[in-house]
């Protein structure tokens, strides 16, 4: 506290002085703002494949109806999960319910992430052939809810890549190059879907917050996605997961498939017997 006060006082004084002094005509011109693409704090573009090392029994195969293991559903959510009807979904053209934004990143899928333009990151998945658009610039949300909703993206380090460690930290910790940080994405306007293929629901009031980051290890690059699902209708609290992807050199594994959900591995009778 004793060291921060003079520091803070200096800053306040400086701010005051800058405000008080009139700008000279034709004087200092700030550089044009950099686009989100140019100011990227982390490069998540490329082709990625999901590494399903967690929740395998709920992600790689369709879990039995009513299995809400690990998900903080409320009684209403549990009831809806118990009423899941795959045949009815298929008949109603609702095959993509498990491929909406709140469930998509947990699916066994490959992703192709690219810049659609300087303000928009695009994520394509081969599972369900879905496309997400992460908007850095203000874009009006569609009035109609969609499987992938409306996403607003921002870099987690908001101050133009200014690295405080260069002042306060150990210089040897500063590798040359851009400061590593992450990407935050908030998504809403979602069409109701499933958190898992076996019909565990999320509602149209869902707000999905995601944090993307990458790490390099052993010659590989990995993408991590921390996902926080808030749904006041079907969840009793935030549903928090993190998923990991490995970067691939090419699109050899890219296998676009329409939204399809296999029936549960166990029939209800088998499930009852097993439990």
């Amino acid at each position: 506290m004793s060291t921060s006060r003079p520091f803070l006082a200096g800053a306040v004084l400086t701010l005051a002085s800058i405000t008080a002094v009139a700008q000279p005509p034709g004087g200092f011109q700030p550089p044009p703002p950099r686009s989100p693409r140019e100011s990227a704090q982390v490069d998540i573009s490329g082709r990625w494949v999901a590494l399903v090392t967690e929740d395998w029994l709920w992600r790689m195969v369709t879990a039995p109806k009513g299995d809400v293991t690990s998900i903080p559903v409320n009684p209403r959510g549990r009831q809806v999960a118990n009423e899941w009807n795959l045949e009815q979904d298929n008949a109603n053209g609702e095959q993509c319910r498990a491929f909406g934004a709140a469930g998509l990143m947990r699916l066994p899928t490959r992703l192709n992430i690219s810049w659609q333009d300087d303000n928009t990151l695009r994520i394509d998945s081969d599972a369900g052939e879905q496309t997400r658009l992460l908007n850095f610039a203000p874009v009006a949300a569609s009035t109609e809810a969609t499987w992938q909703g409306h996403s607003v993206a921002s870099w987690t380090r908001a101050v133009g890549g200014f690295d405080m460690r260069q002042i306060f930290g150990n210089p040897k910790d500063n590798a040359p190059g851009p400061v590593k940080a992450g990407l935050k994405v908030v998504t809403d306007h979602l069409r109701p879907g499933y958190l898992r293929k076996n019909g565990v629901p999320y509602s149209a009031e869902t707000r999905l917050t995601e944090y993307f980051s990458t790490v390099r290890a052993g010659g590989n690059e990995y993408l991590s996605v921390l996902s926080v699902v808030n749904d006041p209708v079907y969840l009793s609290g935030a549903f928090v997961t993190s998923s990991q992807f490995k970067k691939e050199a090419d699109d050899a594994g890219w296998n676009p498939t329409p939204c399809t959900t296999a029936p549960p591995a166990l029939t209800p009778t088998q499930q009852e017997r097993g439990n």
Partner: protein, 584 residues
């Protein structure tokens, strides 16, 4: 004035930036998994995973064999009861996490980051640029961690981990595993990306992400989440005999006889072969593989070379008065005190001069007063004569069969001037502590001894333990698999762990790194399990070729089967087979 203005502007920018940027940099605080167990794999992290849940793990054939042989009763064995969550599992297990800082006392800079929690053993991540210990150093369940910053990310590298697990169902990590963790902070969350590379049990890196959220209440530390917090917070653990079992009993499943695997497949409606698919099961295309019901061949374990040993003769401090010298043949234990120097084993004759120099660097000009040999071979006794003359003529002590074996091998008369014993033990008092020489003859040879330094709490095991090779229990030198297992259990009678199954009594093996009780128990388990597999084959009338084809050392060859060694896993199996066959 200009300088002052620039400084003020910099100050302003820094002030403005600090709120946002520093929030990304400091992980200090109290964290917990969302919903206590997290929202992923709750059955795994709560009551524990089922035997057979091996999917999504890049296990190779060796890893799968070890997993399938695991029995849940393993945790009932007294030596294993207090085993904490190993580092490779810590962030996945149900736990709280308190991240703190350790300050260097003089310069007051952050020297380390501490990771405390309810996972049993705390971790220290050194960020002061220090190196990892040498390969011969003790391994722990938490390992040895160093960290550095990559932008906002704290990168932690951990080595020197004991045998551990990825899930609490026996899916293994080996002592050769290396773990890299990336700690990142996003708003009120900490994301930990863990990458484990293990050439012994994994065919490719295992990647797991774990998330913590900022705790709104004080979280327990060094306790256990299910114990009351009104008592001592230290997590005590007292091993006890939970079942009536023969001394040295090691619970495990023989290959192909783990019936729980079929139960698991049936319960979840998946083909049995799915459990044995390793890395393939992690990738999206595996969903089509399941649909086609076509089994995937499992990756064979990689051919491994032994861990890189320090080149030349080197020493590390073991504990109290004890040092370890490596690189001169067999390991040499050095006790240094007021009265002088005592050596246990002396390496080869060719390395004696280098050993003498290393002793001088440890003990100065103190004379060697005693030499104790744990067995007769040249790499244990070759330096006896030259090192005995280092200072004063030292007394050489060994079991009488060591002298006999040396004489049979044609050793020079000067090598045979030794004090021998033939009873169960021999005790001397030197440098303020009792040193007990314990006969375990019949393990490696008919002249084996353990040397127990009571005051320093260190046991020198000789070649009863070789941490990079299977034990060479050959009958033509008077050794046997039965004697080997008995000797290992004898060591376990002596060792006492300091806390949570590790530390405490330190064991210096004949070759390789330092051990403690948990390591000896794991080594005993390995020898016993392989003995049981061979015994089962003998009982079924299998030929030696049939036995070898079943790869009875598959899950241990990556640690103990150094290629190019003059004692391979096949040699070990053959030796056991012939002994057990002969006993029929």
């Amino acid at each position: 004035m200009l300088r002052l203005t620039l400084l003020s502007i910099a100050c302003t920018v820094a002030c403005t930036a600090s709120t946002a940027a520093l929030a990304q940099l400091d992980f200090s605080g109290e964290w917990e998994h969302p919903g206590m167990f997290g929202h992923e794999d709750v059955p795994d992290r709560g009551q524990g995973p089922e035997i057979g849940d091996y999917m999504g793990l890049p296990l190779n054939a060796a890893g799968l064999r070890k997993a399938e042989s695991y029995s849940g009763s393993w945790l009932g064995v007294p030596e294993h009861q207090c085993t904490p969550h190993p580092a490779a599992y810590q962030t996945w297990g149900p736990n709280t996490l308190v991240i703190g800082k350790l300050y260097e006392p003089v310069q007051r800079v952050v020297q380390a980051i501490t990771l405390d929690g309810t996972f049993g053993l705390d971790r220290i991540v050194w960020i002061d640029g220090r190196e990892h210990p040498p390969a011969s150093a003790l391994h722990t369940f938490t390992g040895y961690s160093t960290g550095h910053w990559e932008g906002d990310t704290l990168v932690v590298e951990t080595t020197h981990m004991k045998m551990g697990w990825l899930r609490r169902n026996g899916t293994p990590t080996s002592e050769r595993a290396k773990m890299t963790e990336y700690f990142e902070r996003f708003d009120d969350y900490v994301l930990v990306t863990t990458i484990i590379e293990d050439p012994v049990y994994l065919s490719e890196p295992f990647v797991r992400t774990t998330e913590y959220e900022m705790s709104v209440r004080p979280v327990p530390v060094l306790g256990y989440p299910f114990t009351r917090n009104d008592g001592p917070t230290f997590y005590r653990c007292f091993p006890s005999e939970e079942t009536i079992a023969e001394k040295g009993y090691v619970p495990h499943n023989l290959p192909g006889e783990n019936t729980l695997l079929d139960d698991f497949a049936q319960k979840h409606g998946i083909p049995r072969w799915v459990m044995g698919t390793g890395a393939a099961s992690m990738y999206p295309e595996f969903t089509q593989q399941i649909a086609s019901d076509a089994a995937v061949p499992l990756d064979a374990p990689a051919t491994l070379t032994p861990p890189a040993a320090a080149s030349g003769v080197q020493s590390i401090h073991v504990k109290d008065q004890l040092w370890l010298i490596t690189g001169a043949g067999a390991n040499i234990a050095v006790q240094v005190g007021e009265e002088g120097v005592l050596l246990v084993n002396t390496g080869t004759a060719a390395m004696a001069e280098a050993v003498r120099e290393e002793i001088r660097s440890i003990a100065g000009d103190k004379p060697v007063r005693y030499i104790i040999n744990t067995q007769w071979s040249d790499e244990h006794t070759g330096g006896n004569v030259p090192l005995a003359d280092f200072g004063q003529h030292a007394a050489i002590l060994a079991h009488e069969n060591v002298g006999l074996r040396l004489a049979e091998a044609g050793a020079a008369a000067s090598s045979l001037e030794m004090e021998t014993y033939y009873g169960d033990n021999k005790m001397i008092y030197f440098n303020g502590e009792v040193i007990e020489v314990i006969k375990v003859a019949g393990a490696r040879t008919d002249g084996d001894s353990l040397v127990f330094f009571r005051g320093s709490d260190v046991v020198v095991a000789g070649d009863v333990i070789d941490t990079i090779r299977f034990p060479r229990s050959v009958s033509d030198e008077g050794g046997s698999i039965t004697g080997e297992i008995a000797a290992l259990n004898r060591i376990l009678d002596i060792t006492v762990a300091e806390t949570r199954g590790q530390g405490g009594t330190i064991v210096i093996p004949g070759h390789g790194r330092l051990y403690d009780e948990a390591d000896v128990a794991e080594y005993r388990d390995m020898v016993t399990i392989i003995r049981d597999r061979v015994q089962n084959a003998v009982a079924k009338g299998s030929s030696l070729a049939e036995l070898q084809a079943s790869q009875p050392v598959l899950d241990y060859a990556g640690v103990f089967g150094a290629p190019g060694s003059d004692w391979t896993g096949d040699d070990f199996v053959e030796a056991i087979y012939l002994q057990l066959k002969g006993a029929q």
